[in-house]
Amino acid sequence: MFKHDLQQSFAPVTEPIKTFLNEPLPKGVGWANTLGSALLATIVIQVVTGMLLAIYYSPNAEVAYESILYIENHVLFGRAIRGVHHYAASAMVILIFLHMLRTFFWGAYKHPREMTWVLGVVLFLVVLGFAFTGYLLPWDMKAYFATKVGIHVGGVMPVLGKYIIQLMQGGSEMSTLTLSRFFALHIIVLPLVLILIVIGHIYFVRFHGPTPPGKREEELVKYSHRFFPVQLLKDSTVAFLAVVILLFLAVYYGAPLEAKADPTDTEYVPRPDWYFYALFQLLKIFEGPLEIIGAVIIPGAFFTILLLLPFIDRNPARAFAKRPVVLSLGVACTIGILALTTWGSYSGNRAKDGLVAGGAVSDSAMVSAQYDPARGETLFVGLECAGCHDAASAGDNIPPGLEFSGNKYKLAWLAGYLQHPHRVRWLKRNERPVAKMPNFDLTPQQAGDMASFLLTLRLDKKFPEVDFDFAEADSDMVISGKTLFGDYGCDGCHTIAGQGDAIGPELTRVGAKLQDDYLYHLFKNPQSIIPGTVMKDARLDDIDVEDLVAYLRTLK
C-alpha cells in the first residue's frame, strides 16, 4: 500500500524516465548511434576530474606549474586524475569528430533536425575552446609557447588584430592575467555553455527521435526495438570501453608535463596538441601576407559552412546513392582534415633536431619536448640521488650539489650524461672515464625526464639573467674570444680538442653542456660559483667575458 503511494509520489520523476527508456528506435539504429552517449560519458568524466584538479590547481603564473607538480607527486591519485583529464580531452575531440561524421553520412542533419546539428557544431567549437584554454593552465613550455602561437592567430585579423591579442592576453604580454582569464573561461564560462548546449542538443535529439537510416523523413518508419535494454547496453559498453582505455593511458603514460615556461627560451619550437595540427599546418602553408588565409579565412569558411550545412543542403534524401555531390565533398573534407593533421604531426620536428644538434650524445633519441619533470622528480627521489648530491657538502671530489642545475646545464647534454655517464665524461679521449656517478641504466625517456626535472632547480638570485643575448653574438666576438682564451692562458689548464693541458675540465664540447649565462657568471666570479676552485679570477671586464662566452658557446 505504502509502496504504491510512493510510486505515485515520485511519478513526475519516474514516468519521464520510463518514457525515456522505452523510446522506440527505428530499424538500423545500433552501434553507430553510441558515439553521442560515449561523448556524454567523456563530458561527465571531464566535469568530475576537472572539479578535482581545480581543488589543488592555482591559476597564477608564479605557482601554476608548481601546483601541477604537487598534484602529480603529492596528491593521492593526482597523477591518474590529471592523466584521465588530459586523455579524455583528446577522446572528446575524436568522439565528436566521429559523431559528426556519422551524422553527416547518415544525413541525420536534414530537416527537421537542423537545430540538433547546429547545436552540435557549436558544441564542437566549445570543445575546441576547452582544449585551447586548457593547455595553457600547466604553464609549462608547451603551454606558454603553443598558446602564444594561438593568440598570434587572433592577431592576424586585419584592423582588430592587436585588440584581439590584448583581449586574449589580458594585457600587452602573456602573464598571470592571461592565465587567470583562460582559467575562468575553462572552468566557469565554457562549462556553463557546454552544459546548456548539451541539454538542448539531447532535448532536440529526443524530440525528433533518431534518424531512420537511409529513409526520407516522410517515409513510413519501421520501429524494431526500444532504447532499453539493448541500445542502452550498447551505449554503456562503449562508454565503459572508453573509460578503460582512458584509465590505461592515464596510469601507464600519465599526462605530459614539460619544463616550466621560460619566456626567454630561443630554442623551443612550440607544437600544439594533435587536434590542432590541421590548423597549425594551415598556418605553416600560408606564410607572410597570405597568413590570414590559413589563420582566418579557411577555418572560418569551413566552420560557417559546417554550421549552415542543413540549410545549404536541402536535398531530403538520406540514401547514399542520391547524395553524390554532398557526400563527395564531405569525403574530400574529411580526407583533407586527416591529411593536414598527419602532415602537421610530421612537420615541425625541428624542435627535436634543434635541441639535439651538437648535443653530447646525439646518437640516441634524446631530446624531445615530451620530457616530464614530474616523472623525473619521482625517479630522482627513487634513486636517492640526493644521498650523494648534497648541496651542503659539495666540493672537491664530492658530487656537485644540484640546486642550480637549471642555471647551469643544457637539457640535451644533461639527458645524455644521465643516460651514459661514462660515455660522456672522459678525462681524455679514449682514457678511463672519470665520472664517479654510477650508470643507472636509464632509458632515454627516463634520462630526459630526470634532466628536465633538474632544470627546474634554479637559483636565479645567484645567476641573474645576463643582459646580453649570446645567440646574437657575431663572428668578431667569437674570434676575439678565441684570442683572449690564448692570451689569458686558459689553455694552460683546459683542453680543447686535444690542445692544451688537462688540469681543469676539458672544454671541447662545453657549448653543448653549459648555459651561456652560467659561463658568464663563472668568468665574473669563479670562487662564488665553485667554492675552492683553482680557476683564476682574472678580473675580466664585461666585454672580454662576453667575447669568451661567445667563443665557448660555439664549442659543441
Binding site: 568530475v48 576530474t49 581543488i55 608548481e66 603529492h74 593521492l76 593526482g78 539493448v230 565503459f240 573509460v243
Partner: protein, 165 residues
Amino acid sequence: MSNPIEMNELTSRRGFFKILIVLFNGLIAAALAVPGLGYLLTPVFRKDSGAWISLGAIEKFRANTLQKATFTYVSEAGYTRAEKNGFVWLKTSAGDSPDAIAFSPVCSHTGCNVNWHASRNAFICPCHNGTYDADGNVVSGPPPRPLQKLPVKIENDQIFVQLVA
C-alpha cells in the same frame, strides 16, 4: 500468470542485459569515485610534522610573567612557502634549570585569539568573553576545554615551541 517468468529474470535475456548495464555503469562510477575520494581525502591522511620554532633567548622574557611571544616562521602549504607571523602566550621561570610554559592563543570555543589581562589575572577571549585562569583552565563562559599547552624545549638558553604536536 507472470510470476514464474519474473522469477527467472536473472536468466532471461532482458534481465541479463539489465545486469550488464548496471555493472558497466557501476564500474564507470567506481573508476571515478574511488580515485576521486582518495584525491579529496589526501589532506586527511597527511601528518604535519611539528617543527620547533625559536622564540629567542630566554633572558628576553621577564620570568614568572605571562607575556606575548611573537615569532616568524616559514609555513609550507603544498607547493607554497610563506613567512608567517605567529604568537604564543609564554611564561618562563628563571633559576638553575629554567623552564617555560606556552599556551596556544586559540580559544577552544570558536578559535578566536585570547588576550592576557594581567589586571584580572585571566585570559579573556574577545569573541564571547570566554575566560581562562593563568593555567589555561576555563573559569567562565562558553569554552569547552582549557587552552592548549604547547610543547616547549630550552636549548642553549633559547626557547623553542612546537605549534603542531
